[in-house]
């Protein structure tokens, strides 16, 4: 198993966003917890493309990046490296994803791989 490391504030996390979240408007609903935290991939051990390819249908997903330090500046949000056996980059954003936090996370997100790419 991989060792858990501290993610520096200046590093970025990649997060997949499925095309369906964009059909109605901005993807606020994509910023959600799955079994604990919001799942992301740390740039130290993953490229954006690799993050995209970890899903069953990569072509239906875009990838955004979020700055770890900016996330930590949000109230009650924490960023933790949570490596998995098959994914050393796996990291999570913990903290309740209230409407306020989802609006702010959406503003922090920058597209790296757009759905048209």
């Amino acid at each position: 198993m991989w060792a858990v490391e501290e993610i520096p504030n200046e590093h970025f996390l990649f997060m997949r966003i499925h095309a369906n979240w964009l059909k109605h408007g901005e993807p606020l609903g994509a910023f959600k917890d799955i079994e604990g935290g919001m799942s992301t991939d740390w740039e130290k051990y993953s490229t954006a493309q690799q993050a995209r390819d970890r899903t069953r249908k990569p072509n239906e997903n875009g990838v955004v990046k979020l700055n770890a330090g900016k996330i930590r500046e949000l109230q009650d949000m924490s960023v933790v490296h949570t490596p998995e056996a098959t994914n050393r980059a796996h990291s999570e954003v913990f903290g309740e994803k209230t409407p306020e936090m989802r609006v702010k996370l959406n503003r922090l997100a920058e597209w790296v791989i757009r759905l048209s790419d």
Partner: protein, 175 residues
């Protein structure tokens, strides 16, 4: 401290006086400027010729597709229920009906977005403000809202507070 007599003087202008004052204020405000202040880049602006019923029926028609929404990459995905959608539409009906009475030019109309865990987001956004009301899938859970001006001014809370609806309406119409 004001005396009772002072309060009485302040609190009892006639209905007509208040109406005249409001009308005068509106005349001084350039129509175009007021109209511009209500344009929401992200969303639809409703022309004053449309009735509240027409606006609501359009919103309902546009929102039906939420019930078919899926995220194939999320194994824990919670589908959207008609019951949750109906509660979101109920909020919209109340908002549109009351806003259209207050606002003579046009009413900012939100989008209904898929939210997390089967919840539905009602989302308004323009260049100067953003606001989201989240209608949870669990009808016993609190419906939370948050809005800000991209700066230090913000509004947040839950809809179970009696004044929340009016705060939200005021926030949206005062943009």
């Amino acid at each position: 401290m004001p005396t009772n007599a002072d309060i009485s003087e302040i609190a009892e202008p006639s209905y007509l006086q208040v109406e005249n004052w409001r009308s005068d204020e509106r005349k001084e405000e350039p129509y175009l400027e007021r109209k511009k202040s209500l344009i929401w880049n992200y969303d639809v602006i409703v022309p004053p010729s449309l009735s509240a019923e027409m606006i609501i029926s359009r919103l309902i028609a546009n929102s039906e597709s939420l019930l078919q929404f899926r995220d194939d990459s999320d194994e824990g995905f919670v589908p959207y229920s008609k019951e949750t959608l109906d509660r979101a539409i109920g909020f919209l009906k109340r908002y549109v009906s009351s806003a259209i009475k207050i606002c003579e030019t046009s009413v900012p109309i939100p989008r209904l977005l898929p939210g997390p865990s089967g919840s539905i987001d009602i989302h308004w956004k323009n260049d100067s403000r953003e606001l989201v009301v989240n209608i949870p899938a669990d009808n016993k859970a609190r419906a939370l809202f948050y809005g800000d001006d991209f700066g230090s001014l913000c509004i947040k809370g839950s809809l179970d507070k009696p004044l929340a609806f009016y705060m939200i309406r005021m926030w949206l119409l005062d943009s």
